[in-house]
Symmetry: C2
Subunit: 184 residues, 2 copies
DNA sequence: TCGCACATGTAACGTGTTACATGATTCA
DNA sequence: TGAATCATGTAACACGTTACATGTGCGA
């Protein structure tokens, strides 16, 4: 029924093209200069990824020759691409996703505006917040099981993980209340 | 002068072997059951990584045949492996490392006990804290440049990044004070 | 004219993922 | 007897990294 899961980079590209059809070069600049910079930006990653998206029929390309001697290849998501992207945004997530693919969940949330339905974002954040609580409890349990003579650094490193997760949970609840406000 | 940079997984394995010489299977269990679980744990990653470490002369293997019919291959870091690992722990880091390889920095810190010198951990955390402050300022600058009509979700997603970074900075300072206390 | 930004790509390489393979031991 | 755990591996594959290749337009 479904094709294989796209990579984070592919989803980021597809999402950006939802916002504005543009060229590979434009997309590279976004990754190079904004907070999305944790994604590649290297041509060796971007151009093949765009080619894959096109091969799967998720985007179409069109040569923009308004500046004749310097053609740009502008990519636009297709109907299939839009459907698949929305499905990806809506796919529900597991505890595993929260613990090990949190960045992917944030990428999804950042593109939630595509759904144009604050209710979806609300549910997403609510599920995320309670999932994060579970993670916190599990990490704290591990911390309590640390042997007495364990050196201080690994303990502190685990504290960092707990702090990150707690901060994420706090953020999720605060964002949730902002979304609620926006919805009313 | 230096060989190529080892991967995070290789460093994690090498660090764990500093704590206790053990087999690939033991290491897999650690990744599968503890908070270090963000690293692989799959045999297709671990055994090749251990083989690479051995090929580079950073660990040696010895067959443990106390239980005859079920031999374990126990890995131990060599002198070269220990030196390289300490160098890796001490290598100074850039803003780039903080923004995009924070997990690697945390991995290093978790193994700082190997250095057996709280002063090093102190300096590490101090540098980290001020580096994180820089990151926070840069992210907040980006947030301020967001256009007015931008939908709420990307804004919130960026807030999440800012919150994470601030939490990390708070943690670093708290950890710093605990290290100082331990030193006195 | 020198270098930089524009603009798109390819090729080699390394590494992690997934799936498979093998075989012994322990326990229900 | 069959399933789970112990224990070590290999092979195909996909993806990102790094480095290279090519050529235009523009400003100093």
């Amino acid at each position: 029924m479904k094709g294989k899961a796209p990579t984070n980079l592919e989803c980021a590209l597809l999402g950006l093209l939802h916002g504005q059809p543009q060229s590979g070069y434009d997309l590279r600049k976004i990754f190079a200069t904004t907070a999305m910079g944790n994604y590649s930006s290297s041509p060796g990653a971007i151009y093949p990824a765009l080619k894959r998206l096109e091969a799967r029929g998720l985007v179409t390309s069109e040569i923009d020759s308004t500046n004749e001697m310097r053609p740009r290849k502008v990519l636009t998501p297709t109907a299939r691409g839009k459907t698949l992207f929305r499905d990806w945004l809506r796919a529900d997530f597991s505890a595993e996703d929260i613990d090990r693919r949190f960045d992917q969940l944030m990428l999804k949330f950042a593109f939630h505006w595509v759904l144009d339905d604050l209710g979806e974002s609300h549910d997403f954040l609510a599920a995320l917040a309670s999932g994060l609580d579970v993670s916190v409890r599990s990490l704290e349990a591990q911390r309590n099981m640390f042997p007495e003579q364990m050196p201080i650094q690994p303990r502190l490193a685990l504290d960092q993980g707990i702090g990150q997760t707690k901060a994420a949970a706090r953020w999720a609840r605060k964002a949730l209340s902002q979304i609620k406000e926006e919805m009313s």
